[in-house]
Amino acid sequence: MTTEMLGMILAGGQGTRLGKLTRTTAKPSVPFGGRYRIIDFTLSNLSNSGVNTVGVITQYQPLELNRHVQNGASWGLNERSAGVTILQPYAASDGEKFFEGTAHAIFQNMAYIDSYNPKYLLVLSGDHIYKMDYRRMLAFHESKKAALTVAVMPVSKSEASRFGIMNTDDTDRIIEFEEKPAAPKSNNASMGIYIFNWATLRKYLADSNATDGNLEDFGHDVIPAYLAHNEPTYAYAFHGYWKDVGTIQSLWEANMEFLSPNNPLNITNRNWRIYSQAEALPPMMLTSTAKVTRAMIVDGSYVAGTVDHSILSQSVKIGPGSVVTDSMVMPNAVIGKNVRIDHAIIGEDAIVGDNGEVVGTADDIAVVGYGEAIGRKEKA
């Protein structure tokens, strides 16, 4: 069995900066945009790019992610002898295999990767919102005869010091890598998207494991090692919408951007669909007291109140007299009567009892956690 390019999604992080939203679930399975979960964007990009074999490396609270991904059929990633495989920690005769870092996680799953004998390994994060055709990046990688290609995008100079910055020569070859530089020399920020020649990477990881085990992380360890050994390493420039949703603030922002009819993500484009697992839920209902403007709503929701500039996910209930503004409400949340929700993210299965208030500001988003109950129902 040979696969030209195998996709590996690093979905293991706990996402601590998402606080209450990831206490019982992995970051990639956090709901987004009404009917998606964050990982849907990466999985759809893979499917649309014709990468039909994908490993999802996870170790933190994977149950919901497992249930969401299932056999990959929702994204067309269910071909026989291909498709999606969830890779979790395991025990082997030489010990237990928890993953210590991004590169280490790839190393620990070498048997899986080798079983497909891929020429290229496409390494991705599971927590970015973007649309990208990885075939174009592969064509770039091949044309450069690169050992490693890193996708980069231009960021403003002021932001650049928050990213890994790739300084290139005029052939796009990376000559220097600076992690979160105080004085960045360029604005090519790494997107955490890599194409590796698997044979080369495999050798580096195996050598590291056999010696000092120092190649734990791609950004911190592997890229510097490639540069030090003069491996041909290139930067592939991406131009388009891209958002890391690793914090409450950025998750809220990305949802509000998604809500804009002029969202550069162009979600309505049928030539690059974002797929998700679709449950069969009844149609949404807006009652005679509903008032809904600048909003996205999906199946199963029941709205008797006012919703403005907000996103409601599946099976959300908004009681009469309640007002939801500038907020994102996750699946199955129940909002009682006369509740006020503003600049907030309401977690899955959360309950906000009658007359409750969840009010944040644009700089300090209020959050109700998964299954959390606040307001009157809390006393029950």
Binding site: G33, G34, R35, A73, P261, I267, T268, R273, I274, Y275, S276, A278, E279, A280, P282, P283, M284, M285, L286, T287, S288, T289, A290, K291, V292, T293, R294, A295, M296, I297, V298, D299, V307, I311
Partner: protein, 385 residues
Amino acid sequence: MRKGELSAIIDLNEDDAALAPLTTGRPIGTLPFAGRYRLIDFPLSAISAADIHSVAIFMPRSARSVQDHLRSGATWNLDLIQGGVFMFPYVATRDYNDASLRARYYEDYMQFLRMSGSRYTVILGAKNIANIDLNAVLDYHRAGDSPITAIYKTLPVTELGAQELTLSLSELGTASSVLPLSARHLGDAAKVAAFMDGYLIDTPMLIELLDAASNGASFRRMPELLRDAVLANNANAFEYTGFLARVTGIQQYFAANLAMLDDASYQALLYSSIPILTKSKNEIPTFFARDSHVVNTILGTGAYIEGSITHSVISRNVLVHRDAEVVDSVIMQGTKLSIGASVRNAILDKGVVIGPNVTVAGTPEHPVVVPKNATVYQSIEEVPA
């Protein structure tokens, strides 16, 4: 219930003349419903909830919409190795008149039943919108004396048309015949047992019926065979008491859709213990623009609403542009209302386009029906009688 104890047949060859032009290119079974479903979802969901994994579909003349909707049957757990969806092609009456062809068709049906290994077979149509608990029907059947059970709901006589089928109930509560309302001597009875085109029958008996029919001198379709069986055996009569809408004509279809705006009916049909399963679509969320005004309405996903909608049923991917208004109407998928369009008491089939400032208005009793993919540039107004 044991896996494999029940198999099912859904017969999509239902008389659909009264539903033209909605049924020009599709059977009753794939009529859209409640902005989200097709009518066949209701029998399929009842079947799925009863853990039935082997289903035969008697295909209508226009089979493509059925195939597109069912695909592998995975939505209803009909893709397991122990079962499957078996589609039996449409058979023209003239072919049934050929004795050898007829024998082959019956043999196909019998083989399905034998291979299913089932003890009982459920037979349903699609035009009765309901959520029947087939496990309850099975329990009732087992407790009864007859090898065949017929399903009915008690309805006011006034709600039935003359040709609609009813059960004649004996004092024992069994059904002695299945007759059209017009053939019944009801006296001054206010209520009647409306037959729901649903049976549960011992599989060996069904095989016997088919075998006899296969050797018979002339052609009899399955519904006739079953009615004869009721006559010959009397039937256990199972009374269904849940939500029911009978799609016997345009007006009934229209009313059934709008009935879903009543919260009690919506909850009863769509949030019962039998989840209504339907093919999932990868649609984006429905977007409500700044000046949209939508009340008392159910909507599918992927719609984009700038105008106003009141008391209506809107399917997925509908566009309602600014200053357009929809009142008391049923709008199917992919329909577009241009700026200033006005639609009242109407059914717009899939892919209809209503031009700018055009009015389409029917009456509650006579909704205007705009057929599939039609473009309407001139106003249509039905004057109330």
